[in-house]
Structure formats: structure tokens, C-alpha cells
């Protein structure tokens, strides 16, 4: 059994799996149930000024029979009275001293407002803060959430305000609705943040009801853009996490968020630099129970790979990320069809023919027609292997001699 305990910016947790600030962390009794299910920590649904929510609030992207590969929401921060949340937070922390309880905060851009809520909340005994500079909908129209996260100077300034009065670690939650994630990440660090978490949700319109022609989610015939999350956003999140992890000037811990469903997703985030992870959409879909396999699967993975502690994998793949210009131009792979596993769906053929480099032809063997790679034409793009539904039927095989490497940067260095 590997050691799954984490120390994230001084915040100790029984495991790296936290619930992100969202509906699953709306109130004390919910978080307590989550801890009972095995979650290592929870970021409370964002506290702030009183708001009123609309109905309806959510809409989803489906792919075929797979429901909710992406989720869009226009729900705001908590709509419960602050004192109720604070009371429950204190009780929860008392009952679960070994779990991590983080208070997420968002108020208007005034020093007094931030410092007041920080001090009030701190009195609950919560373990840390997460500053919500990321919420892209609703609150941002009022100058809060992403409106702050999108301007590095504001990010730095507000972080400083909170740090002035906070006795506990402060995490800054970053918005992905920026061109480049490094400046806001550095700004949080400059403001004194103990860590960052990312990504918050992405600006999105999930779709339109083609019968009524009303976009989703329908609020009395109208819709507004929302925040996008779930499985579909994972690649965007991984990119942003890895960009911060690679940045030489950035050196505070990262809490990875965005489309994490399984232990495998979590491992990927951690390999690319996240010291722990936060989960929301998968729990909204399947409930707190999913953490059981996340813990079990992570444990088995670490044992199998020979890691004593989950901390050992953090950042393990960061050095494998580089700029395109540093990739080896001499590396060469080509597709090979293994006929014994080929089911003759010909998806590789049509994908290559219409979507890649026309590198397939057919061959007849024992009365069956198999796709065959024209090696001279194959550029090694992977598309055929990606569309192939039969495991192992298409293998990408290295064909270069493994000689000296040469990148574009090297090749053009003298120019």
C-alpha cells in the first residue's frame, strides 16, 4: 500500500482527492457525507455576498450514448446565508479534523470586503482559503470571479489583501479564460499565494434546442453563457497545468482541476505537475462513491509502478513537455495493420484517405479485404490508430535508425 497522504502547501490530507468548490460542496452535511465516502478534502461552495440563482442552470454535451461529456452551468456562488455556512464549516472541521476543509471566497473588489470575509471565515477553523478568481459567468459581470483572474495585476492585488490577514494557506483559483495562463499564475505567486488551483470553468454556450430554437440552459426563453467543465475540458486543463509546471519562475504547488473522472485522470494531472486534484462534474454525475475506485486504483497503480508515495509521481512527466521547435525531426513512426486483430471496419482507410495522407490501400488475403499501409506515404500521424476500434490492430512502429536527433530549432539555428 503506497502512502496516499498529501501535504499540499502545508495542507495535510489523507489522499490527493478533493472536491472542488461547486454544488457537491454546497453545505456541511454534504461535505461530511463526502468525507465518509473517502474524499480527502473539500473546497466549500464559494462564500460571498448574497445572490439569487436562476432556474434552470445546467446543460450538457452528450456524445452518442455517452451522457454529459461536458457540462455547462450558470449557477452562481452559494445562495445560503454566510452565517449558516460558517457555522456548518466549523462543525464539519471539528468532526473531521484529519480532512481538509477549504473555504472558497469571492466578494467585490474592495480590500475591506476581502479582508472582512477572510477574517470571519478563518474563525471557523477551516484549513485554508481558495480565492475564486475564475468563475466566468454571472459574477464576472459584476466585476468579480474571472473579471479579476483575467487581469494579473488584480489577481496579485487581491491575493495580497487576503494574505495580509490570513493565518492559513491561500490558494488562488485561476480562470482558463485567458490567452496564456502563466502571467496570472505568476501574479498569484507574486501576491503571496501559497498555491494555485486550475482550471475553473470555460466560457461556453452548450447548444441550442433546434425545435424551440432557444439556447441551453433555457431561462424563460433566454440563455446566457456559462462555465464549461467535465471530461471534455481535461486536455485544456492539462495544458494549462503543464505550462505553469514548466515555467521556471513559477514554483508554488498546483491543484489540478478539469475533467477528472478516474484515478487515471488524476495520475495524468499529477505527472504533469499537479500536487493534488479537485473533482466536481464526475461527482455531480455519479455521486461521492466514485472516490473509492480513485483511491483503490491509485494505490494499485503506485504499487505496480513501485512508488512508495503519491508525492513521488508529481511532476514526473513535466520534463517530457517541450516546445514544438525542440521536438526531434528525425524520429519516424509508421502504421502497421495486424491482420489477426483487424475487423475490416475500414475506418483507418477512410480516415487516412479523407482526413490524412492517403496512405492506405486494400489487400485481399484468404478472401478477406484488409487495409494495408503504403509505407512510403505514411507520415506517422497516428490518425488510423486513433480511429481503430479493435485494440492492437494498428501499431505505430518506429522505423528510423535511432540516430542523432535534430530539432527545428537546431536545424534553423544558423539562419
Amino acid at each position: 500500500m503506497a502512502d496516499l497522504t498529501t501535504n499540499f502547501a502545508g495542507l495535510k490530507s489523507p489522499n490527493p482527492f478533493w472536491l472542488a468548490s461547486a454544488p457537491p460542496t454546497n453545505m456541511g452535511p454534504m461535505i461530511e457525507r463526502a468525507f465518509d465516502a473517502g474524499w480527502g478534502g473539500a473546497v466549500w461552495k464559494t462564500l460571498g455576498e448574497r445572490i439569487t440563482n436562476v432556474s434552470s442552470r445546467l446543460a450538457a454535451l452528450d456524445q452518442g450514448q455517452v451522457r454529459m461529456i461536458g457540462l455547462n452551468n450558470i449557477e452562481l456562488i452559494t445562495d445560503r446565508p454566510l452565517e449558516v455556512n460558517l457555522k456548518e464549516m466549523a462543525e464539519c472541521k471539528k468532526k473531521y479534523p484529519n480532512h481538509t476543509v477549504i473555504a472558497s471566497l469571492m466578494v467585490e473588489s474592495k480590500k475591506e470586503a476581502w479582508q472582512e470575509i477572510t477574517k470571519r471565515t478563518q474563525d471557523t477553523g477551516c484549513d485554508g482559503f481558495e480565492l475564486n478568481f475564475g468563475c466566468p459567468h454571472g459574477m464576472s459581470e459584476r466585476g468579480m470571479g474571472a473579471a479579476m483572474g483575467q487581469v494579473p495585476e488584480y489577481t496579485c492585488m487581491v491575493t495580497e489583501w487576503v494574505k495580509e490577514v490570513s493565518d492559513i494557506p491561500v490558494i488562488v483559483k485561476l480562470t482558463p479564460n485567458v490567452t496564456h495562463i502563466v502571467p496570472p499564475g505568476r501574479a498569484a505567486q507574486k501576491g503571496g499565494a501559497d498555491a494555485v488551483s486550475l482550471i475553473n470553468t470555460i466560457n461556453s454556450v452548450i447548444g441550442v434546442d433546434v425545435d424551440t430554437m432557444i439556447p441551453y440552459p433555457n431561462v424563460n426563453g433566454m440563455a446566457a453563457h456559462g462555465g464549461y467543465c467535465g471530461t471534455a475540458v481535461k486536455p485544456i486543463a492539462l495544458n494549462m497545468v503543464s505550462e505553469l509546471a514548466r515555467d521556471a519562475e513559477f514554483n508554488i504547488p498546483i491543484s489540478g482541476i478539469g475533467g477528472i473522472n478516474t484515478w487515471r485522470d488524476a495520475v495524468e494531472f499529477m505527472l504533469l505537475g499537479a500536487a493534488n486534484v479537485q473533482v466536481c462534474t464526475a461527482v455531480m454525475h455519479y455521486g461521492y462513491r466514485i472516490v473509492e475506485d480513485m483511491i483503490d486504483g491509485l494505490n494499485n497503480y503506485l504499487d505496480e509502478k513501485g512508488f512508495a508515495s503519491v508525492g513521488d509521481i508529481v511532476g514526473k512527466s513535466v520534463h517530457r513537455m517541450t516546445d514544438w521547435g525542440d521536438l526531434d525531426l528525425n524520429y519516424d513512426v509508421k502504421a502497421l495493420v495486424h491482420k489477426d486483430k483487424c475487423i475490416q471496419c475500414n475506418l483507418c482507410y477512410v480516415a487516412c484517405e479523407d482526413g490524412a495522407h492517403q496512405s492506405f490501400e486494400f489487400e485481399e488475403v484468404d478472401g478477406k479485404r484488409y487495409p494495408r499501409v503504403i509505407e512510403a506515404e505514411c507520415v506517422g500521424c497516428n490518425l488510423c490508430a486513433l480511429v481503430c476500434p479493435s485494440p492492437g490492430a494498428i501499431e505505430m512502429i518506429r522505423v528510423d535508425a535511432g540516430g542523432p536527433t535534430e530539432s527545428w530549432r537546431q536545424r534553423t539555428a544558423g539562419n
Binding site: 450514448q65 475487423i343 475490416q344 471496419c345 475500414n346 492517403q358 506515404e377 476500434p389
Partner: protein
Amino acid sequence: MDKAFCTPLDITQIEHNFAEINPAMSAAEAMQEANRCLYCYDAPCMHACPTHIDVPGFIKKIASGNVIGSARVIFDANPIGASCARVCPVEVLCEGACVEKTLIKKPIEIGRLQRYATDHAMAVDKQIFEKGEANGKSVGIVGSGPAGLSCAAYLARLGYDVTVYERREQPGGLDTYGMAEYKMPQSVSLSEVDHIARLGVEFRLNTEIVAGSAETLGPVNHVGVELLREWHDAIFLAVGLGETNRLNIPGEDLEGVIDALAFIEQIKTRDWKSVPLGRNVAVIGAGNTAVDAVTQAKRLGAENVMMIYRRTEADAPAYEYEIELAKKDGVEFHWQTKLIKIGGEISVLALLCSKPDGTEFAIECDMVIKAIGQQKMASFFTDITGVDVDEKGRVVVNGQMQTSDPAIFAGGDCANGGAEAVDASQMGKHAAEGIHHALTGESVQFAGSSVKPVEKTAVHHH
């Protein structure tokens, strides 16, 4: 056979027994199954379908919510796509070729998805194809079974004036009269015919084609073939097969010995209590029709149903899955059992049989159903229409379905000797193409007329 005897079961039980073996899919089920389809390119299922329906194409249209578009793809390649969705031996055709069968042993339920789409088109009463602009030419079609219907639909779409002559009271041929009731009720075939009629195809029922040039009207009309030549620019013969073959053994003509098609046809009325049924029923033969007979006799409530076949189980002409169905229904099999004569002393219809080693034994039964294949319609072709037949009695046609008489085309069971409805449908399609070419000189190819090899794009990289 005890004449008073009929089904001992109550109606609820019988209705249950005859419930469709492949029931309709709910929308949720269809969506799930349609989304499972991999959307193969140059798909094996499409190759395996005798009418070459673009199967992945119609399935993905179900998945996209374009169900009418899906039905159009189906009917475009097979005008009797609703019937075929139910009666096709999909296990050995499309579903047998499905790559999901290769991959995970679970082929996509293509037949039921086809039913889902075509049912939808029928339910919303959508006229998918329209009659073509009249081209002033007329075609007479003899026989309203799968081949005749298919040919009629395509010719009507091209603008031909089409009349279908049918000797029975109802149109549809074997689709209407010959399919096991648990596979397809008569109403499906009739509504499919109705859709084809709405393309402007005229059906003259109770009308038999005879030699000569006279027309006599009566309970059954007789129309001389020479009149057809006069009325129409071309004739398509889709007359199917004839009477059930004779056993040529003593006792064959005893009362209580009936042929399988007659038995199946009686069941099609769903007037269950009117169908004569023995307590102990012996079915002679082991083809697909024999299976339809044993399973339905059993479902109707016969106590003991036997299938008697002179060769081994492996030799049985029925599809394996059909024999399995008969087994599941509790049918008793007598393989390698040669029938010597019908008629005994205790029971009137006892069968005297012999085993390969020569031992003789009796099988007690009170109803005998012959299912040993149908005769060819050779004399219809030679004596009435005057076109060539081959040594097996099948009408001889070329690739355009044209007979030895250039104005006469033929297709379906009468030309291939007896196959599936879907094969007949494809021949009807080819006949329509052939007739159009013969009458106008124009070549036309309907959807799924043939499967063309994939054309490899020339590579232009270097």
C-alpha cells in the same frame, strides 16, 4: 386427423406464443444500438445485404435523429425494407458480417434498427418516394411478391405506368401469405404494398395469367398473356414457385396430409381456432419452411411436434439458428429417418419409416405436414409465356433479368429456384433497370444495384 381438433390453448396464451420474435425497439433502445454502430467504411454488412442497403448510413441517421432520412436510405435500396427487416435471415447476412460480431461477438441489431426506421416512416405515413413524371410507357408485372413489388416500385419512380397482376385475393405474395406469424404479421406486408400502390402502381387482384388472348372475368379473372403483350411495353414475370413437391409414397393424399404453405397461410388469418391442428404433428422436411411449420404447430398448441428428415442434422437445409429455434420450442427430431408410407392400422396417419440400417418403425401422428420444397413453374413459362427454362425448371434470364423473349423479364424465386425475399427484391431492382434500358436505351442504377469497389484516390504528395 380428428377434424374437431384445433388449438387447445386459450387466446391469450396463443397471442403470447405468436408475439413477434424480434419486437419493435423503443426510441431509447434504437438510439443506444444505433450509437454502438462503428459506421464502417465500405461496410461488410452492406456487402452482405443482397440489396446492398447502406447499412451504416441508415443507422447513423437514426443516431442523428433523422429517422425519415434513415427510412429513405432503406427503401431506396429495398422497396420491401419493412418486411425484410423482419424476415431476413440477418444472422447469415448483414448481422453475420457485422464487425462488432467479429470484435465482441455482439453484432449490431441491424434488422431491428431497420424495422425501427421503416416502422417510423409507416407510422407517420410519410410518402418517401413519388411517382416519376409519366414517360408514356407501360409495364405489366405478374405476381405481387417481393420481386414484383420491388420492380413495380422502381418502375413507378421512373414514370412507368405499372399494373401488377395477382391471382390471390391479397397482394404481397409470400410476404403476405408465407411468413411465420411470429416473424411478421400480414398487416406489415399489406401496408408496404399500400405504400407501393401510392406510387401509382395498379394492383389487379384475383387475376391469373393464362395462355391465349382472351380475358374472362369471374371470381378469378383470367387474362391471356397475349393481352399483356398488347397492353404493356414489357412484362415482368415474378410468379414464384408452384405446388409443394410430392413425396411419391403411399398415403400421401390421405385427408390430414397438408402442405406447409397451406398450414402457414391458415395461421396468417390469426383466426386461431379455425386452423386444423393435430395433437401429434409430423412435419416432413428440414428446410426453413419446415421449421416455420414445426414452430408454429407447437406454438398453436400441438402436444407433440416432430420434424422428420431423411438425412442428418448437419445436412438440414434450414439455417442453423432456425433449427435452434425449433429445438427451443420443444420439437422432437427424427434425423436420418426415411418415410416409407403414410397410413396405419391404429392411427390413420401413422408413418412407416426406416433408419439407414434398414430397421423399420412407426411414428404415431394425426397430422402430417409436407415441407419438402416447391415445384418450379416450368410449364407456366414454356406453355403460357413461351420463354426458356433451364434443366431445373427455372426461367432463364440474363444479367438484366431479360428472358429469351426480349419483351419479357423475370425474377425472384421463379428465376433463382427459391431464395430469400431480399434476393427477390434485388432481382426486381435489376429487372426495373433492365426494362428501362430495353425500352429507353437509358442506363439507370438504383441504390445498391451493385457494390462498386472503393476507388483509391491517387496520391499526389511527391
